[in-house]
């Protein structure tokens, strides 16, 4: 191999690897265009509406970023969990619990100044989410309970708890008097609204999420604890021989992952909805951010910085889809299907990309064999994407 080849090829591969999700998104949109045509809609108009809805005006851009914020925070949590070798599908529940804790704080001290309550509420959300993520962590590490199932169950418990509290203890006094009794809390005091960055709906939470992304990156790659978390995720047995307390770091990664989900909930309440409400399901309040955030993280290749553009792209899709629906008059469920298509394409492209990497590894004898790294009989739960 010539020197030139050695230098350029890895760079090209990296660029291609980073572009694969984008290409996959384009492919998904191509398929969606065909579906639109079969429904009698003009795909060019449709995508025009989608792009205009997502980035067509300062307000639209702000909306996109606002939608991207919880996705990014959940996605960051996903990065930590998956890098630590555990799967956290409990984003929905952690978001709900974080939002509940933050709302409760705001409702209890309506007279307090904003600069006191806002940081405290963010902290409360962070803590509550951490507890909600830490429980499956403890169950997984010390009691061998499958964390995929336990996080899903914690989601359900959180939603039931939310429904109960919003219909009873935390219900808006106005709704209590009214016959309708809509299950929602009172609006939080105006001084608790997260400051707006520019005169749009864009709030401080978006900036907070980006800072969190940088912090998570530093945490995972520049600190000892982060290094240990990744070591446990890469090879738990080797980490144990190296003297790392595997169980403790398993709990820690799920706990931090949940905490970021809880922060997402607190940010949603203080930055966007200013109250909590429920329609009985989790998605009514979260807008499925707890699931979409996981996909955004997979899209960003489980890297905190890569998750930023991924979350923005998904936010744009969500916001643009609303406009698309209004302009082209396609059924709302079709728009959900577009998200599904993008997800499937991105994940399968990731599969394809990994396969390519493996083929390359196989050709270079110095690397470990692609399938030989794992002893048989060991569940490979951490390996996702």
């Amino acid at each position: 191999m010539s020197l030139k080849n050695i230098q350029i090829k890895p760079i090209l591969t990296r660029i291609l690897a980073a572009l694969t999700p984008v290409l996959a998104t384009l492919a998904a949109m191509g398929i969606f265009a065909v579906i639109l045509m079969t429904l009698g809609a003009n795909p060019i108009d449709a995508y025009g509406a989608l792009i205009e809805g997502a980035v067509g005006s300062p307000n639209a851009i702000a909306d996109t970023l606002v939608k991207a914020t919880p996705l990014l925070l959940i996605g960051l949590g996903t990065c930590i969990a998956f890098r630590g070798g555990v799967v956290n599908i409990g984003g929905e529940g952690q978001l709900v619990v974080g939002a509940l804790a933050a709302t409760l704080l705001g409702l209890l001290y309506p007279e307090a100044p904003g600069y006191v309550i806002i940081p405290l509420a963010m902290g409360a959300g962070f803590l509550a989410g951490g507890v909600w993520g830490g429980i499956p962590g403890v169950l997984k590490a010390y009691f061998n309970v499958n964390e995929i199932l336990s996080t899903i169950m914690m989601n359900q418990i959180a939603v039931q708890g939310m429904n109960f509290l919003l219909r009873d203890a935390m219900i808006d006094p106005v709704q209590l008097e009214a016959a309708s009794r809509i299950p929602q809390t009172a609006r939080l005091a105006a001084q608790f609204d997260l400051p707006r960055l520019v005169p749009t709906r864009l709030h401080l939470g978006a900036l907070l999420a980006v800072i969190a992304a940088v912090l998570v990156y530093i945490f995972l790659w520049r600190t000892t604890i982060g290094y240990r978390i990744r070591a446990v995720g890469l090879n738990a047995a080797a980490a144990r021989y190296a003297g790392i307390n595997v169980k403790r770091y398993m709990v820690l990664s799920l706990l931090l992952s949940g905490a970021l989900g809880g922060l997402a909930g607190a940010v949603q309440v203080y930055g966007v909805s200013h109250r909590m409400f429920t329609d009985g399901s989790a998605a009514g309040f979260t807008g499925s951010a707890g699931f979409n955030g996981i996909v955004a993280a997979l899209f960003g290749q489980l890297h905190p910085i890569g998750t930023i553009p991924a979350a923005i792209l998904f936010g744009a899709l969500l916001v643009g889809a609303n406009k698309l629906q209004r302009v082209v008059q396609v059924p709302s469920a079709l728009v959900i299907a577009l998200n599904g298509l993008v997800v499937i394409f991105v994940v399968s492209s990731e599969i394809w990309r990994r396969r390519q990497t493996r083929v390359q590894q196989r050709m270079e004898p110095d690397n470990t064999p692609p399938d030989g790294g794992k002893p048989p009989g060991q569940l490979e739960q951490g390996e996702i994407g």
Partner: protein
Amino acid sequence: MNEFDQLLKQLSSIVLQSSPLIIAVCGETITERVGLINLSLDGTMLLAAMTGFVVGLQSNSVILGFLAAAFVGLLFALIVAFGSIRLKQSQVAIGFVLTLLGDDLSAFLGQNFTRIPGVFVKKVGIPILEDIPILGPLFFDQDLVVYFALILVGVTWWFFFRTQPGLKLRGVGERPESAFARGVKVNQLRYLYAMLGGALVGIAGAAYSLDVKVGWSEGNTRGLGWIALAIVIFGGWSPIRGAIGALLFGATKTLATILQQTYSEIGVVFTSITWILMLAVLLVSASELTERFINFMPLAWRRPLRRFLRVTAPMALGTRFGED
């Protein structure tokens, strides 16, 4: 006597409500016994429920509805198996994405068919058997879905533990390399049983939309797939124990609904109790603490206690096997 009849009616409805879950648990047990995890159960069941209902409605045939649903389940399981065996990817990731896709697709494709009447499975009592006191009304005065579920449990158990193909199936899930050395085509069997299990999960989905919760609405069976996955673990990968788990789940759920109406102030306790119980059950059956507790017991008790409390997963569950 009247109260007794009421109770009997309640119990027989629990049996009916639990039977789709029993079918799904059997299907997933087969898949996991052969060493694959099909995590897409929740999405598969939603899409299968929708497909089964729509096909049944359009063709005016319950059978065709079930067949279409089985095909959907088979297809999803095939994707998981192909992604894992051929593309060498994480089954968990593929399963999770398929869960979301099945949910979205069912909402999209079924949107014009929500909350309309359709075909459904009719109740057929089995002569003679239905006259047995108590057991008759519980198990033999039901519809075909219930009979199918009960027979399926028996057949699956018999197949697993009393036939040679069943032995091969378990061998592939426990020690694929040994099975391979003995000439078993490991990956071929994994495809086969993954598809069989997937088809059963699909049938379970249709059993909801065509029988238990007749009709289709968005998110009709959401959550039940995850329950089924948990019950498979609770059942220790045995169809009979799994079926008991499904029945217990149905019973706690009904009980919770009744208690919730009675004590509405603390209703939340009862709506989430099934989930908390599931967590507790997973904790007991998988935890090291249980092992320690068993070792405190007298020697003679240990074996039956361990059989009762502890479960172990198939050893090769979730791993790949490269034949090349």
